[in-house]
Protein backbone atom coordinates (compact mmCIF):
# COMPACT_ATOMS: atom_id res chain seq x y z
CA UNK A 1 0.00 0.00 0.00
CA UNK A 2 1.24 3.43 -0.87
CA UNK A 3 1.94 6.23 1.63
CA UNK A 4 -0.88 8.74 1.88
CA UNK A 5 1.32 11.61 0.72
CA UNK A 6 0.77 10.49 -2.87
CA UNK A 7 -2.96 11.00 -2.58
CA UNK A 8 -2.53 14.39 -0.90
CA UNK A 9 -0.18 15.43 -3.68
CA UNK A 10 -2.60 14.34 -6.43
CA UNK A 11 -5.46 16.15 -4.72
CA UNK A 12 -3.33 19.27 -4.35
CA UNK A 13 -2.35 19.24 -8.02
CA UNK A 14 -5.96 18.94 -9.18
CA UNK A 15 -6.99 21.71 -6.78
CA UNK A 16 -4.33 24.10 -8.06
CA UNK A 17 -5.20 23.35 -11.71
CA UNK A 18 -8.87 24.03 -10.93
CA UNK A 19 -8.01 27.27 -9.15
CA UNK A 20 -5.99 28.43 -12.18
CA UNK A 21 -9.03 27.68 -14.33
CA UNK A 22 -11.31 29.71 -12.06
CA UNK A 23 -8.95 32.71 -12.11
CA UNK A 24 -7.95 32.81 -15.76
CA UNK A 25 -10.93 31.70 -17.87
CA UNK A 26 -13.53 34.18 -19.08
CA UNK A 27 -16.23 31.71 -20.06
CA UNK A 28 -18.46 31.23 -17.02
CA UNK A 29 -19.37 27.65 -17.96
CA UNK A 30 -15.70 26.66 -17.86
CA UNK A 31 -15.33 28.46 -14.53
CA UNK A 32 -18.19 26.29 -13.18
CA UNK A 33 -16.45 23.17 -14.55
CA UNK A 34 -13.23 24.18 -12.77
CA UNK A 35 -15.18 24.44 -9.53
CA UNK A 36 -16.39 20.87 -10.09
CA UNK A 37 -12.74 19.84 -10.50
CA UNK A 38 -11.83 21.50 -7.18
CA UNK A 39 -14.66 19.71 -5.34
CA UNK A 40 -13.49 16.45 -6.88
CA UNK A 41 -9.93 17.03 -5.63
CA UNK A 42 -11.28 17.46 -2.11
CA UNK A 43 -13.13 14.16 -2.46
CA UNK A 44 -9.90 12.29 -3.24
CA UNK A 45 -8.40 13.60 -0.01
CA UNK A 46 -11.43 12.60 2.08
CA UNK A 47 -11.62 9.08 0.64
CA UNK A 48 -7.87 8.53 1.06
CA UNK A 49 -7.96 9.46 4.75
CA UNK A 50 -11.09 7.38 5.23
CA UNK A 51 -9.26 4.35 3.80
CA UNK A 52 -6.18 4.90 5.94
CA UNK A 53 -8.05 5.28 9.20
CA UNK A 54 -10.55 2.52 8.40
CA UNK A 55 -13.48 4.83 9.14
CA UNK A 56 -16.41 5.39 6.78
CA UNK A 57 -17.00 9.01 7.86
CA UNK A 58 -14.78 10.39 5.09
CA UNK A 59 -16.75 8.57 2.44
CA UNK A 60 -20.03 9.89 3.89
CA UNK A 61 -18.70 13.42 3.60
CA UNK A 62 -17.52 12.74 0.04
CA UNK A 63 -21.08 11.71 -0.75
CA UNK A 64 -22.38 14.99 0.72
CA UNK A 65 -19.87 16.90 -1.40
CA UNK A 66 -21.14 15.14 -4.54
CA UNK A 67 -24.70 16.17 -3.62
CA UNK A 68 -23.50 19.75 -3.07
CA UNK A 69 -21.77 19.76 -6.44
CA UNK A 70 -24.97 18.64 -8.14
CA UNK A 71 -26.98 21.40 -6.42
CA UNK A 72 -24.36 24.00 -7.29
CA UNK A 73 -24.21 22.95 -10.94
CA UNK A 74 -27.99 23.03 -11.30
CA UNK A 75 -28.36 26.50 -9.78
CA UNK A 76 -25.29 27.89 -11.57
CA UNK A 77 -26.43 26.68 -14.97
CA UNK A 78 -29.95 28.01 -14.30
CA UNK A 79 -28.45 31.42 -13.61
CA UNK A 80 -26.35 31.08 -16.79
CA UNK A 81 -29.41 30.40 -18.95
CA UNK A 82 -31.33 33.31 -17.42
CA UNK A 83 -28.34 35.61 -17.94
CA UNK A 84 -27.82 34.46 -21.52
CA UNK A 85 -31.46 35.17 -22.26
CA UNK A 86 -31.01 38.75 -21.07
CA UNK A 87 -27.55 39.69 -22.33
CA UNK A 88 -26.61 37.13 -25.05
CA UNK A 89 -23.21 36.44 -23.52
CA UNK A 90 -21.48 34.02 -21.16
CA UNK A 91 -18.26 35.97 -20.60
CA UNK A 92 -17.45 36.86 -17.01
CA UNK A 93 -16.09 40.32 -17.71
CA UNK A 94 -19.28 41.41 -19.46
CA UNK A 95 -21.34 40.66 -16.36
CA UNK A 96 -21.49 44.17 -14.96
CA UNK A 97 -25.19 44.71 -14.33
CA UNK A 98 -24.61 45.30 -10.62
CA UNK A 99 -21.79 47.82 -11.13
CA UNK A 100 -22.41 51.48 -11.46
Amino acid sequence: MMPIGHYIFLSLTLLVVGAIGVVTRRNVIIVLMSIELILNAVNINLVAFSRYYGDAAGQVFALFIIADAAAEAAVGLGIMIAFFRNRETVLADEMDLLKW
Partner: protein, 175 residues
Protein backbone atom coordinates in the same frame (compact mmCIF):
# COMPACT_ATOMS: atom_id res chain seq x y z
CA UNK B 1 3.12 -3.08 -6.61
CA UNK B 2 -0.02 -3.50 -8.69
CA UNK B 3 -1.71 -1.00 -6.40
CA UNK B 4 0.83 1.70 -7.13
CA UNK B 5 0.79 0.98 -10.87
CA UNK B 6 -3.00 1.45 -10.92
CA UNK B 7 -2.68 4.62 -8.86
CA UNK B 8 -0.04 6.21 -11.11
CA UNK B 9 -2.01 5.27 -14.23
CA UNK B 10 -5.21 6.96 -13.07
CA UNK B 11 -3.42 9.87 -11.40
CA UNK B 12 -1.48 10.78 -14.55
CA UNK B 13 -4.63 10.63 -16.67
CA UNK B 14 -6.45 12.82 -14.15
CA UNK B 15 -3.74 15.48 -13.99
CA UNK B 16 -3.12 15.63 -17.76
CA UNK B 17 -6.80 15.86 -18.63
CA UNK B 18 -7.39 18.48 -15.91
CA UNK B 19 -4.65 20.63 -17.44
CA UNK B 20 -6.09 20.14 -20.94
CA UNK B 21 -9.54 21.03 -19.61
CA UNK B 22 -8.34 24.35 -18.25
CA UNK B 23 -6.46 25.31 -21.42
CA UNK B 24 -8.76 24.24 -24.30
CA UNK B 25 -10.62 27.03 -26.07
CA UNK B 26 -13.60 24.97 -27.18
CA UNK B 27 -16.04 24.47 -24.30
CA UNK B 28 -17.14 21.04 -25.51
CA UNK B 29 -13.51 19.86 -25.53
CA UNK B 30 -13.16 21.16 -21.98
CA UNK B 31 -16.25 19.21 -20.95
CA UNK B 32 -14.93 15.99 -22.50
CA UNK B 33 -11.58 16.36 -20.72
CA UNK B 34 -13.38 17.03 -17.45
CA UNK B 35 -15.29 13.77 -17.98
CA UNK B 36 -11.96 11.95 -18.40
CA UNK B 37 -10.61 13.51 -15.21
CA UNK B 38 -13.74 12.53 -13.26
CA UNK B 39 -13.64 8.96 -14.59
CA UNK B 40 -10.01 8.50 -13.59
CA UNK B 41 -10.88 9.88 -10.15
CA UNK B 42 -13.50 7.14 -10.00
CA UNK B 43 -10.70 4.67 -10.73
CA UNK B 44 -8.72 6.06 -7.80
CA UNK B 45 -11.78 5.61 -5.56
CA UNK B 46 -11.89 1.97 -6.63
CA UNK B 47 -8.20 1.60 -5.86
CA UNK B 48 -8.96 2.97 -2.37
CA UNK B 49 -11.63 0.26 -1.90
CA UNK B 50 -14.53 2.73 -1.97
CA UNK B 51 -16.78 0.82 -4.35
CA UNK B 52 -19.96 2.73 -3.56
CA UNK B 53 -18.36 6.08 -4.28
CA UNK B 54 -16.91 4.67 -7.50
CA UNK B 55 -20.41 3.91 -8.76
CA UNK B 56 -21.85 7.16 -7.35
CA UNK B 57 -19.11 9.18 -9.05
CA UNK B 58 -19.81 7.62 -12.45
CA UNK B 59 -23.60 7.84 -12.20
CA UNK B 60 -23.87 11.26 -10.58
CA UNK B 61 -20.93 13.20 -11.98
CA UNK B 62 -20.44 11.72 -15.42
CA UNK B 63 -24.01 10.67 -16.02
CA UNK B 64 -25.80 13.58 -14.40
CA UNK B 65 -23.80 16.73 -13.88
CA UNK B 66 -21.70 16.52 -17.04
CA UNK B 67 -24.73 15.84 -19.23
CA UNK B 68 -26.29 18.97 -17.73
CA UNK B 69 -23.16 20.96 -18.58
CA UNK B 70 -23.10 19.68 -22.15
CA UNK B 71 -26.79 20.52 -22.60
CA UNK B 72 -26.16 24.09 -21.44
CA UNK B 73 -23.10 24.42 -23.70
CA UNK B 74 -25.27 23.37 -26.62
CA UNK B 75 -28.10 25.75 -25.64
CA UNK B 76 -25.84 28.75 -25.24
CA UNK B 77 -24.18 30.21 -28.31
CA UNK B 78 -20.47 30.04 -27.64
CA UNK B 79 -19.02 30.65 -31.09
CA UNK B 80 -18.59 34.39 -30.55
CA UNK B 81 -14.99 35.18 -31.34
CA UNK B 82 -12.89 35.23 -28.20
CA UNK B 83 -9.94 37.41 -29.13
CA UNK B 84 -7.84 36.30 -26.20
CA UNK B 85 -8.57 33.78 -23.52
CA UNK B 86 -6.24 35.20 -20.91
CA UNK B 87 -4.50 38.49 -20.62
CA UNK B 88 -0.77 38.08 -19.85
CA UNK B 89 -0.94 39.90 -16.53
CA UNK B 90 -3.76 37.70 -15.25
CA UNK B 91 -1.85 34.61 -16.35
CA UNK B 92 1.23 35.60 -14.33
CA UNK B 93 -0.89 36.29 -11.25
CA UNK B 94 -2.49 32.86 -11.58
CA UNK B 95 0.83 31.07 -12.08
CA UNK B 96 2.47 32.77 -9.10
CA UNK B 97 -0.50 32.05 -6.82
CA UNK B 98 -0.40 28.41 -7.90
CA UNK B 99 3.35 28.17 -7.22
CA UNK B 100 2.98 29.72 -3.76
CA UNK B 101 0.16 27.33 -2.77
CA UNK B 102 2.16 24.38 -4.06
CA UNK B 103 5.29 25.34 -2.14
CA UNK B 104 3.31 25.89 1.06
CA UNK B 105 1.74 22.47 0.79
CA UNK B 106 5.07 20.75 0.14
CA UNK B 107 6.56 22.47 3.19
CA UNK B 108 3.61 21.35 5.33
CA UNK B 109 3.89 17.76 4.11
CA UNK B 110 7.62 17.71 4.84
CA UNK B 111 7.16 19.26 8.30
CA UNK B 112 4.42 16.82 9.22
CA UNK B 113 6.94 13.98 9.33
CA UNK B 114 8.32 15.47 12.54
CA UNK B 115 5.02 15.32 14.45
CA UNK B 116 5.28 12.63 17.16
CA UNK B 117 3.20 9.51 16.73
CA UNK B 118 1.98 8.69 13.26
CA UNK B 119 1.90 12.36 12.33
CA UNK B 120 -0.16 13.67 9.48
CA UNK B 121 1.12 11.10 7.01
CA UNK B 122 -0.20 7.77 8.17
CA UNK B 123 2.35 5.26 7.02
CA UNK B 124 0.51 2.13 8.15
CA UNK B 125 -2.90 2.00 6.49
CA UNK B 126 -5.79 0.08 7.90
CA UNK B 127 -5.23 -3.59 6.85
CA UNK B 128 -7.14 -4.24 3.66
CA UNK B 129 -8.25 -7.76 4.65
CA UNK B 130 -10.01 -6.39 7.75
CA UNK B 131 -12.07 -3.76 5.94
CA UNK B 132 -15.83 -4.26 6.39
CA UNK B 133 -18.01 -4.50 3.25
CA UNK B 134 -17.90 -0.99 1.87
CA UNK B 135 -21.53 -0.27 1.07
CA UNK B 136 -22.74 -1.76 4.34
CA UNK B 137 -20.23 0.25 6.33
CA UNK B 138 -21.19 3.45 4.49
CA UNK B 139 -24.91 2.82 5.01
CA UNK B 140 -24.46 2.15 8.72
CA UNK B 141 -22.62 5.42 9.09
CA UNK B 142 -24.92 7.43 6.80
CA UNK B 143 -28.19 6.29 8.36
CA UNK B 144 -26.84 6.17 11.91
CA UNK B 145 -24.55 8.92 13.07
CA UNK B 146 -25.00 11.16 10.01
CA UNK B 147 -28.78 10.88 9.61
CA UNK B 148 -29.46 14.56 10.26
CA UNK B 149 -26.91 15.84 7.69
CA UNK B 150 -28.40 13.36 5.23
CA UNK B 151 -31.88 14.86 5.68
CA UNK B 152 -30.46 18.38 5.39
CA UNK B 153 -28.78 17.37 2.12
CA UNK B 154 -32.14 16.23 0.76
CA UNK B 155 -33.68 19.60 1.65
CA UNK B 156 -30.72 21.30 -0.07
CA UNK B 157 -31.32 19.30 -3.25
CA UNK B 158 -35.01 20.21 -3.21
CA UNK B 159 -34.19 23.90 -2.80
CA UNK B 160 -31.66 23.74 -5.63
CA UNK B 161 -34.15 22.01 -7.91
CA UNK B 162 -36.88 24.57 -7.31
CA UNK B 163 -34.36 27.41 -7.54
CA UNK B 164 -32.99 26.34 -10.88
CA UNK B 165 -36.45 25.84 -12.35
CA UNK B 166 -37.51 29.30 -11.18
CA UNK B 167 -34.26 30.82 -12.48
CA UNK B 168 -34.37 29.25 -15.93
CA UNK B 169 -38.11 29.70 -16.46
CA UNK B 170 -39.23 32.02 -19.19
CA UNK B 171 -40.47 35.27 -17.63
CA UNK B 172 -44.02 36.27 -18.38
CA UNK B 173 -45.30 39.78 -17.88
CA UNK B 174 -47.75 38.76 -15.20
CA UNK B 175 -46.71 40.00 -11.74
Amino acid sequence: MLDSLVFYFFASIAVVSAMLMVTRRNAIHSAVFLITALLSTAGIFLQLRAEFLFIAQIILYVGGIMVLFIFVIMLVRLDVALPRILSPRRKWVAISVALIVFLEAIIIVLMSRKIPGQGLLVSNPYPSDKLPPNTEDLANSLFGLYLLPFEIASVLLLVAMIGSVVMAKKRTDAP
